[in-house]
């Protein structure tokens, strides 16, 4: 019985795996097919079979729109959010977890409360504020509101609170101040949570659509999600090109995930995030 169960389990797992990977496979293989075959072959197993594969669609994307510009915009905006976000949120999380200051508990509860407010709910007042400040149609307006992130602060907080307090106390006795302790002792021991926050931030921000749509109008500062929407509406509608655009949009996020995957898994386990 047991000998029969093991292959059956593997078969089930394999089918589940195929089911999960098939949309990505469809996207990747579709991007390699001639435009007229993409939809024709999408109904059966041929959807996952690269009939007359070529990189033609990719070349089309670059000739039809300024893809490099959008990619650089997205990389710059996300890089800035990621870099400054890791710095600001980790410091905030550490401060909530360890530093004694008046009103810490109240403020932390407020931060937690902010987590449940969706962007859609505050988009209009936020739009009003940035319009008053004259920040519309800039990189700044796409970066600044997303640096401080309640969920990231919460993740850092839960990780830091679990680090042995003696490590910091030893560092303080050894002569390190708060900043030096944070940089030399805390950060090197918190790589998993940094990786988790990096991946989660990148995942969320890479696909940001509503906010850039509200606050940007020129192509010069627009990110990839807006560009793919524009591309979709750009005649003639070519599914092969659209698929190629999609693949190139997914690649950076996939590589970031693969880069930090090992640390991310450890971080998820340590911070207790449930998938």
């Amino acid at each position: 019985m047991k000998r029969l169960l093991t292959p059956l389990t593997y078969l089930c797992l394999l089918l589940c795996g195929l089911l999960f990977i098939s949309p990505v496979g469809f996207l990747l293989i579709g991007s390699l097919k001639p435009d007229d075959l993409v939809l024709v072959e999408s109904g059966g197993w041929r959807a996952l079979w690269p009939t007359s594969a070529s990189l033609e669609n990719y070349r089309d994307v670059f000739t039809r729109v300024d893809f490099t510009r959008y990619l650089l915009n997205s990389l710059f905006i996300n890089g800035m959010i990621l870099g400054t976000g890791l710095l600001v949120n980790s410091i905030a999380g550490y401060s909530f977890a360890r530093l004694p200051w008046r009103g810490r508990g109240l403020l932390f509860n407020l931060v937690l409360a902010v987590m449940i407010i969706p962007l859609e709910a505050i988009a209009v007042p936020l739009f009003y504020i940035v319009s008053l400040l004259g920040w519309r149609d800039t990189y700044l307006v796409q970066i600044l509101p997303f640096i401080a992130n309640a969920f990231s602060i919460y993740l850092f907080y839960t990780y830091f609170i679990g680090l042995p307090r003696e490590l910091e106390e030893a560092a303080r006795i050894d002569g390190a101040g708060v900043v030096r302790t944070f940089i030399d002792i805390i950060v090197p021991n918190a790589k998993p949570v940094f990786a988790s926050v990096a991946i989660l931030t990148f995942l969320t921000q890479w696909g940001a659509f509503l906010w850039p749509l509200l606050v940007t109008s020129s192509e010069a500062v627009r990110p990839l999600p807006l560009a793919i929407a524009t591309f979709h509406g750009l005649p003639p509608l070519r599914w092969g090109d659209l698929f190629a655009f999609g693949v190139m949009m997914v690649l950076p996020i996939l590589s970031v995930f693969l880069l930090f995957q090992r640390l991310f898994v450890r971080g998820v386990a340590a911070t207790g995030i449930k998938g």
Binding site: R172, D174, P188
Partner: protein, 368 residues
């Protein structure tokens, strides 16, 4: 090297827990002071206050006569070994030792010289390139000591540094710590709940209970002349037997353990003049297990409850005849030489050396 003074130190935590009350203690230059007491007695708190890791709620802390209450830990020039060692896990042993030296902004060659010197002294020279997770418990303990010693601190604090080691290693490192402290002459405050560690390591011992200092003095003095029943029962393994006594005003004898033993009051009053004030009052008596002997007078026929044989000696748990049968608190213990000779349930004649009898008030304070 430095002196340390706790002057009327109090510590109340935000949740209202009183960890220390009016602690007065001074540690001499180069002295090894051991703070000992049961869990929650405030000994670790006393150490943390001196380290600057927690603020005191009142009183003054002095190092070398200078008030340090407001000084940040990094400005007190003290070093501390933690119970779990608190080695930096991402650094090699060399980098762990180097960290305090870098914070002192010492030049590179001087840092290397000190690391070499300290690692040679502690026998960890061949571990310098390893990370803490690659070390055994004993090696981690040495590295933690090294990190504390490498900066040549004025005061060395140790918070139960041996509690994570097995018994054999603990005994070895205990003697190494004692030797090192004597050789370097660094003023050391050592916290432990283990009275054997306290007795063997300390130049002086301070016994704490419920945040209050019970007694402070050289180990032998505390063992021989405990200030109260708590100190008597805490030091020694097993601790002092404490039982009821009565110096009746109408009789000329001190009745011990419900009249199990009686001894003449006269000689006792000459030895302990203050006893006169307590004649007619209920008292407490204390006898160390080794004070009992089958050949001493006064003797009484006691009932053996159990015997623990330790090879060269035995611990005999017994109930004196005047005690209430079955009352656990009235079971006493005697340390007798040689292998087991008695059986549980048997009656034997047991007396004690009256010179070793301690008397306490009903509240537990020693009568001298």
């Amino acid at each position: 090297m430095a002196t340390v003074e706790y002057l009327h130190i109090a510590k109340t935590y935000p949740n209202g827990t009183r960890a220390l009350e009016d602690l007065n203690l001074s540690v001499e230059d180069g002295e090894m002071m051991v703070l000992v007491g049961p869990s929650g007695c405030g000994k670790s708190t006393a150490l943390r206050l001196l380290a600057g890791l927690d603020p005191s709620s009142g009183g003054e802390l002095r190092i070398d006569g200078r008030r340090v209450n407001e000084c940040a830990p990094q400005h007190r020039n003290i070093a501390m070994v933690f119970q779990n060692y608190a080695l930096y896990p991402h650094m090699t042993v060399r980098r762990n030792l180097e960290f305090p030296l870098r914070m002192m902004k010492l030049p590179g060659p001087e840092r290397s010289r000190r690391i070499e010197e300290t690692s040679r002294m502690l026998g960890i020279s061949d571990l310098l390139e390893r990370r803490p997770r690659q070390l055994s418990g004993g090696q981690r303990q040495r590295v933690a000591m090294g990190r504390a010693l490498v900066r040549k601190p004025r005061v060395f604090l140790m918070d139960e540094p041996l509690s994570n080691l097995d018994m054999k290693l603990r005994t070895r490192i205990r003697s190494e710590i004692a030797g090192l402290q004597k050789r370097l002459g660094i003023t050391t405050i050592y916290v432990t709940h283990d009275q054997v560690e306290a007795m063997t390591l300390g130049d002086r011992i301070a016994v704490l209970k419920d945040g209050r200092l019970q007694q402070c003095g050289p180990p032998q003095e505390l063992y021989d002349q405990p200030a109260n029943t708590f100190v008597g029962a805490f030091l020694g393994n097993p601790g002092m037997n404490i039982f009821h006594a009565w110096a009746g005003s109408g009789t000329a004898a001190l009745q011990l353990a419900g009249g199990s033993w009686q001894i003449p009051l006269g000689p006792l009053l000459r030895r302990k003049p203050k006893l006169a004030q307590y004649v007619g009052h209920p008292l407490l008596a204390g006898l160390r297990p080794e004070a009992f002997s089958p050949w001493q007078t006064p003797a009484a026929a006691v009932l053996i409850e159990s015997v623990e044989s330790l090879g060269h000696e035995r611990l005999v748990h017994f109930v004196p005849p005047g005690a209430t049968p079955g009352a656990k608190s009235e079971t006493l213990v005697a340390r007798l030489p040689g292998p087991q000779a008695e059986q549980p349930g048997q009656h034997i004649e047991l007396g004690f050396d009256t010179g070793q009898l301690h008397l306490f008030t009903h509240e537990g304070d020693a009568i001298v």
